[in-house]
């Protein structure tokens, strides 16, 4: 899982890009390209380096009228995979 207060951020060198030739969203990262499905794109579109994981999943649940814990579970798995590959930072607020 991901801590509810953690703030997901795309680090420098990782960005969303619309691939016109293949008609799909991709995540461009150092020497890697990740093809995004609709869900992946929806999650990453909410990642702005300001809002917490909790805020993001709450927003998604409302936007897509879906159960909150299901959204949190799916988003956590997806974001964790990206973090393990160093395509995403998870910042924890330092008090």
């Amino acid at each position: 899982m991901i801590d509810a207060t953690a703030i997901p951020t795309l680090p420098r060198g990782v960005r969303l890009h619309f691939d016109k030739v293949r008609d799909t969203w991709v995540l461009l990262a150092p020497e890697r390209t990740v093809t995004l499905d609709m869900i992946g794109h929806a999650i990453l579109s909410e990642v702005d380096g300001v809002r917490s994981f909790d805020d993001i999943t709450a927003g998604l649940a409302e936007k897509y009228q879906a159960p909150r814990d299901q959204i949190a579970k799916d988003s956590a798995a997806f974001l964790r995979t990206l973090a393990d590959r160093r395509f995403l930072d998870l910042m924890t607020e330092v008090a």
Binding site: R12, H17, V21, R22, V26, L28, E31, T33, D84, R85
Partner: protein
């Protein structure tokens, strides 16, 4: 099979390089300086590449920083919409130039590491003071905040330095390290005796990488290229011939892989004469080994054929003199046992390093 658009392009901006690494994969017959594509020609190629579907651009060489127009080229690449990666030894980059590259939009830097001590690095690179300079460059890269991958090429002489290379990567703030056991293409073929790792070293490297991957999960991503003469299955070379990526040589020749010029029967198109799109989809060199139709046995009836596409064509050429053969690294190749014996023999040699020369300034007249 329909041909997919390419994702990646390697632009070899020049074969010039201040270093002279014995394992360099540049061809023994290097492109002359006067034949190099000009700034506006590269810019056009970057645009054609983006339209064709290329997303990732790797600026390489030789040493790309030897091009005086490097900053302009990066700007042109970003304007074309490409994710732009600079593959460099660091030599030729100043603090000022790095700031200019930053302003031009450079996305990522891949820095090569010849050794973890000045003695080792300068001996392998054949360039005195190179290691200290590289460390300075790494400091500036970190300060500016460029995402960094460290690329450590390992061979018999420096494989014991792998643990330290993993530490250096973290000290530099790299997110990723490529632990690449030396591959023998181009110039490197002359150094198999001097550089071939022993089987024990190859096994040890795999063990270190496996442990480090667990210990450094989420901190440092490790990409690993094992010693393939000591492996049982070949690499999926280039992600499959004409499937994922293409190379443009300094003089504009378009190659399915950087070593493709070692295959004598292939002919290559040039971006000066033809659109990149036509070259990718219909060029003779790309057609030659794309897909699986060209395959002989044992590949033709093998269930791994879409996994590795029969291995590396240039390796089959270099080792067997036959680019159409199954990569002899494969256990199913009749030459596999012989190759392993040859690898062990190379690893026992005490031959000296043969350094890579510089490309000629002007093209040599055809013979």
């Amino acid at each position: 099979m329909t041909t997919p658009p390419p994702i990646a392009m390697l632009a070899e901006l020049t074969h010039r390089c201040p270093l002279s690494c014995p394992y360099c994969s540049n061809p023994a017959q290097m492109a002359s300086v006067d034949a190099e594509l000009q700034t506006d020609e590269w810019a056009r190629v970057f645009n054609e590449a983006a339209e064709l579907g290329v997303l990732q651009l790797h600026l390489s060489g030789g040493e790309p920083a030897s091009r005086r127009d490097l900053v302009e080229l990066v700007r042109a690449a970003r304007d074309a919409g490409l994710y732009t990666n600079l593959i460099t030894s660091g030599i030729g980059l100043t603090e000022k130039r790095l700031h200019a590259l930053d302003a031009a939009g450079l996305d990522h830097i891949q820095l090569s590491l010849q050794g973890t001590t000045p003695e080792m690095a300068d001996e392998i690179g054949g360039y005195k003071g190179g290691f200290d300079r590289k460390m300075m460059v790494a400091g500036w890269i970190k300060e500016i905040g460029f995402p960094l991958t460290l690329n450590a090429v390992l061979h018999r002489k420096n494989l014991h330095q792998l643990p330290r290379a993993l530490e250096i990567a973290q000290e530099m703030g790299a997110r990723r390290i490529e632990v690449a056991t030396v591959q023998f293409h181009g110039w490197a073929l002359q150094n198999r005796d001097a550089l071939m790792p022993t089987r024990e070293q190859a096994i040890e490297a795999t063990r270190i990488v496996t442990e480090a991957r667990t210990a450094l999960k989420g901190t440092l991503v490790i990409d690993y290229v094992p010693a393939d003469y000591h492996s049982d299955y070949p690499k999926r070379c280039m992600g499959g011939w004409g499937q994922v990526g293409l190379n443009v040589a300094p003089d504009g020749e378009v190659l399915p892989c950087h070593a493709a010029q070692s295959i004598p029967h292939l002919t290559f198109d040039n971006v000066r004469d033809k659109a990149l799109k036509d070259i990718w989809y219909a060029g003779a060199a790309f057609d030659a080994y794309r897909g699986t139709d060209w395959m002989p046995e044992p590949c033709a009836s093998c269930d791994r054929k879409l996994k590795d596409f029969g291995g590396c064509r240039c390796q089959a050429m270099a080792l067997l003199g036959d680019p159409n053969a199954t990569d002899p690294v494969c256990v199913k190749s009749p030459h596999h046992i012989d190759l392993q014996a040859r690898a062990d023999a190379h690893a026992r040699s005490d031959a000296p390093l043969v350094y890579r020369p510089q490309p000629p300034k002007v093209a040599e007249p055809a013979q």
